[in-house]
Symmetry: C2
Subunit: 338 residues, 2 copies
DNA sequence: CTGAAAGCGCTAACAC
DNA sequence: GTGTTAGCGCTTTCAG
């Protein structure tokens, strides 16, 4: 399959085909006017030798490397993976490869990686990381385009592709309403996170659309954990407030809620419907019952980021600011109405 | 910081410093004998222009790209991430970068990526993926070294770096024994997986070391899921067999076991100790109580794989066959003895 | 239609 | 000590 112990060059192919190096190049790249017979001869020789053009040499000449750097500020995690996959899909179509750099939040490392990426003459850079709040812009005046995905640059002149938390919350709450629930509580993470704020805003907007108010008048805020979801559910039950729907701002919280409710003798989804956020398979499927949840469409997000970057590389103006990707609701049994 | 809109070359630096390109190269790479004053002049000029040597050009000449390809057969997941992180640590020290390719189990894609990696003249390749059974070897006769990590090549002539499931199971069971349990059950995944077989072997060896036999005489085999862990726990309880320890072959199974036991009125760890495998934070911490578990040391594994690859690239013979990385036990409350 | 020559940016060898 | 030359592998004029 790859019998070439030694690297074959155009010169080798040219020699075997009995033509010049220039002709080999034209034949293999379909450029220029060549006689069909010559072309075939070259192709045959190339195949016989297992010729692989050296992309370094090509890049040196063309000024394009067909490489994009992916700089993850935080460590790669659950959120970044689908993003990478989506980006790879979009890039693969353009025959580009991804150079992965994980700076782990260390600015020194980040500068180092940035330097390396530029030294390797990547065609563009995608900056990503843990989806929380903003991150400092890499700055302007780069020799290559930069797109931020999942993380927001603090500079308006950059383009950031983000998921739409407000939209996601609206989908969740509207679904609870559509399945007949009217008394809806919101259990969420720390209020200082923008995600928390956006999800709260979406929740309030969907509730007011329907003319109902939030149970307890305010969200229950805590950690992004199952334990908090359980505890919040218990608090809700003990408060004596009537409620028939809970929007948990993460799958972990929502799963904790289902556990807390079940252990309080409350049936999900019969008595209370529960919706989460993330569509994180392990949590969602292990939950009892399986969770209806909001999918953040991260692979779509990666796809868009990569596509925008490709456009920018082609010289197209991709604008700046924030582009939000809508979420998608995934219905499972935690909101079933049989 | 990176003001270079245009790419600066050695020629530019040479012009500014009033020397020749060759001298610039020597000055920047600390080669040859240069007068200190000249060296300083060049360094100053390079700094002023924000010079970044073009690694493509360097690679073309040196025959080394300082790139390694990472080919993941399956999609990148929970297991591959720590591995990548570990590999990056080892590679970073050698100033190498990672080119990430995710073939998603599609052989066509894999061949395509392999071709691209070779065309880019990577210095070496790490093959990884979901840790299950074997995978077909990429074959011999590559122009660059290849190391398999987490996945095992089906060709003995390749080097595969793997975690040690048997050792992990021994650690788990010995710990249960050391905390005073004698009647230990094993709940695990499908027997056709090699991981299942190795974990069973380790379990049996640790038990026989202590002269005790497995509760029920055989493992309970099922899915790698919480649901199966719960169900197996219930079966165990209903069977009427006495038991005071359970080794679950994954954190998901073990967590399911703790839930099943608690819901049967059995106290973990007072009446039964439970140990899992994976040290998967989300599962382990959300478990009630938090799980004692076996850490597969995947980032260590990635580190070793990258280190071996670097050696091979340097021309050192790294041997072949299987190198197993020992596991590490992480003790939490599910086996506490107060 | 095909070949020869130049050059992408860098470094190693050899002059001076 | 420093400049000059050649060449890594490829593509692209420009002759022929």
């Amino acid at each position: 399959m790859f019998p070439s112990r030694k690297n074959v060059t155009v010169a080798d192919v040219a020699a075997l085909a009995g033509v010049s190096a220039g002709t080999v190049s034209k034949a293999l790249n379909g450029r220029g006017e060549l006689r069909q017979a010559t072309r075939d001869k070259v192709l045959a020789a190339a195949a016989e030798l297992g010729f692989q053009p050296n992309l370094l040499a090509r890049g040196l000449l063309s000024g394009r490397t067909y490489l994009v750097g992916v700089l993850t500020t935080d460590s790669i995690g659950r959120f970044t993976i689908p993003l990478l996959t989506g980006a790879e899909d979009a890039l693969g179509a353009g025959q580009m490869s991804m150079l992965l750099c994980e700076s782990r939040g260390d600015p020194i490392r980040e500068q180092h990686y940035l330097r390396v990426l530029l030294a390797r003459r990547v065609d563009g850079i995608i900056v990503t990381g843990r989806s929380s709040d903003m991150r400092p812009s890499l700055g302007q005046g780069f020799p290559v385009p930069v797109v931020y995905a999942l993380v927001q640059s603090d500079d308006e002149r950059d383009l950031s592709i983000l998921h739409d938390d407000e939209n996601g919350a609206e989908l969740a709450v509207r679904h609870l309403l559509a399945t007949g629930r009217r008394r809806i509580a919101h259990i969420t993470g720390p209020l200082r996170h923008v995600a928390t704020q956006h999800r709260l805003a979406g929740t309030l907007s969907a509730l007011s659309e329907a003319g109902v108010s939030m149970v307890g008048g305010a969200p229950l805020t805590g950690e992004w954990s199952e334990a908090w979801g359980r505890e919040a559910a218990l608090r809700l039950v003990r408060s004596g407030e009537q409620f028939d729907g809970v929007f948990g701002a993460s799958d972990q919280i929502a799963r904790g809620v289902t556990d807390g409710l079940r252990e309080s003798g409350i049936d999900v989804p019969r008595q209370v419907g529960v919706v989460g956020v993330d569509n994180w398979d392990v949590i969602v499927e292990a939950s009892r019952p399986p969770l209806t949840t909001v999918d953040l469409q991260l692979s779509e997000l990666g796809h868009i980021a990569a596509t925008r970057l490709l456009s920018a590389i082609e010289g197209v103006d991709i604008g700046s600011g924030i582009e939000r990707v809508p979420c998608r609701l995934v219905v499972r049994q935690s909101t079933a109405t049989d």
